[in-house]
């Protein structure tokens, strides 16, 4: 104890202890086969889409002599109703779909967490006002909002969709974070920080928030899947992003025609498969993360 080098050794030990905890969590995650499968599928699909985009596959040029061609050597996934290569479209569509999913999930989590922290920690009228606002947003059907925005701006852009998704998507995270904060703010360690005269922002975001981080991370991953599905369904009914930008939902849009569904299975099976596989994989991954991160289940 009287060792003069003890101060240095404190920091040194820091590293080994931290890495051992990480190792433990990684091992725990690897034991969950479904979660590993989910992670692998998510990574492979994302990488494939990104590589496709970097290679600059041609997804936009119609080949009118080769419309609705069945899968063959030149077009592994076949071609769509105006002769565009489906593999290229699924790859580029994947980039957009995943981008939409990740962007909206992260941003809505950030907004939800920040508002939830403020509402839960301060309580009282601040809490009341923020909860009412979230209820107003929740009561508004997302579909109507999208239609309104499309009607007002008279265009179907990617930006609109992202905006609507974030604005209407932060409430679940908000409620979760708020509830956690309401119970955690009564923990003794929060009182200790107050007794030391720490700033409220410090207590909220540096002391309490780390304890809420794991459910936020888990809900963000599952939200990615949710937003991808949302985008797909909106694009399917023709309210999503413009036709010129392919997304998985947009490609599926072609399958609205009965003759396509019955005669050209490849046009809807491949994008549909891509969506289902990705969403399924991300949900498996999210569940695995929950098992590792959520202390209540340990």
């Amino acid at each position: 104890m009287s060792n003069p080098n003890a101060a240095a050794s404190i920091k040194e030990q820091n590293k080994s202890a931290a890495s051992s905890l990480l190792k433990k969590n990684v091992r725990k995650f690897l034991n969950n086969k479904l979660a590993v499968f989910g992670l692998v599928v998510v990574v492979i699909m994302t990488l494939a889409c990104i590589i496709g985009a970097i290679m600059g596959v041609d997804y936009a040029t119609p080949d009118l002599t080769n419309m609705k061609a069945a899968p063959e050597a030149g077009h592994i996934f076949g071609t769509d109703t105006i002769g565009r290569d489906l593999l290229a479209r699924v790859l580029i569509g994947g980039c957009y779909s995943i981008l939409i999913g990740v962007f909206c999930a992260v941003l809505s989590s950030v907004i939800g967490a920040a508002l939830g922290a403020i509402a839960g920690y301060f309580g009282g009228w601040v809490d009341g006002v923020i909860v009412r606002i979230s209820e107003i947003f929740q009561a508004f059907p997302q579909l109507v909002l999208v239609m309104m925005l499309v009607a007002i701006l008279n265009q179907r852009g990617l930006g609109n969709l992202l905006f609507i998704f974030v604005v209407t998507g932060w409430m679940t995270t908000f409620r979760m974070v708020r509830n956690e904060f309401m119970s955690l703010k009564n923990e003794t360690y929060v009182k200790v920080c107050e007794a030391f005269g720490m700033k409220r922002s410090n207590i909220m975001f540096k002391q309490i928030l780390p304890n809420v981080m794991s459910p936020i991370i888990v809900s963000t991953t599952t939200n990615v899947a949710f937003f991808i599905l949302q985008e797909a369904s909106l694009s399917f009914i023709g309210l999503g992003v413009a036709d010129s930008t392919p997304t998985w939902g947009n490609i599926l849009n072609a399958a609205k025609s009965v003759s396509v569904v019955t005669n050209q299975w490849w046009i809807w099976v491949f994008p549909g498969l891509a969506i289902s596989l990705f969403v399924l994989a991300i949900n498996f991954f999210g569940d695995g993360l929950r098992d590792v991160l959520d202390p209540k289940q340990q």
Partner: protein, 336 residues
Amino acid sequence: MSENREVIFKIENLKTWFPITKGAFKKVVGHVKAVDDVSLEVYKGETLGIVGESGCGKSTFGKTIMMLEKPTGGKVLFNYGGEFKDVTKFNKEEMFQFRRKVQMVFQDPYSALNPQKKIYTSFEEPLKVHGVKNEADREAVMQKVLKMVNIQPDYLMRYPHEFSGGQRQRLCIARALEVMPEVLVCDEPVSALDVSIQAQVLNLMKDIQKEMNLTYLFIAHDLSVVQYMSDRIVVMYLGKIVEIADSRALYDEPLHPYTQALLSAIPVPDIHKTKKRQVLEGEVPSPIHKPSGCAFHNRCPKCMEICKTVDPAMVHHGAEGHMVACHLYDKEAAKA
């Protein structure tokens, strides 16, 4: 003995009431009078024990002195080198400085350390906040306080769940000492611990008190613990002080009927000794609807007519510094 000692805390008519609201418009329909008109003085270097049943306002009293609860009324005067300043009127900066003078040890050591952070981080943050910029300086302070509580510095790298209750409470004490406070408010510091560990932590606290010349405000419901620790003892009932006395005087000659009943409940570690247990009837009345007159009158075995209407004032009786709020010892009331 008390005259020549320096007063560090002077509490005057302190009240902490929690409003009870009803309906959509939050109309205040009553108050929970957790701390109701408490006045006392705390001397420098002493251990002032505060006892009472659960719900009598001990913890709220401690938190109010720390300004973790906002008092409804009264003054908390703190001795700044001879000059008394009212803590309740402090602005943000003064309050921040006050935090260095008075620290608190909480009841539950299991939730007093942030479970997501290493002990090192939990120890580092208060020092950072209080302006110890240099890492080497911070670690020097940490080493110093950890030595006081007999915990090895390399334990700092661990997470709270790797420690036992006694170790955690020692860590909490060490953390409170980091800012070198003059007063330590201990809110039932050992009640969550095993009996075997309690003695260890209590002895440690006594040693630290001597070393740092600390003043303890020791809140507890365990009378034998309080007796062991305290120089003077305050007995509280329903938010009010019923008796203040030197530890020995209180145990040798309890004046208030409530104190007598409390003391008769201490088990004696001797099987041949039988002790007459004085059992109080009824429940503690709700602090919302307190009985009129003396709050204790409906359970008091020596209740008189006057007790039902007149609230007894603190009077001096017996040994020096022995104060009691009971009509039995009030000469004026006895005459009437």
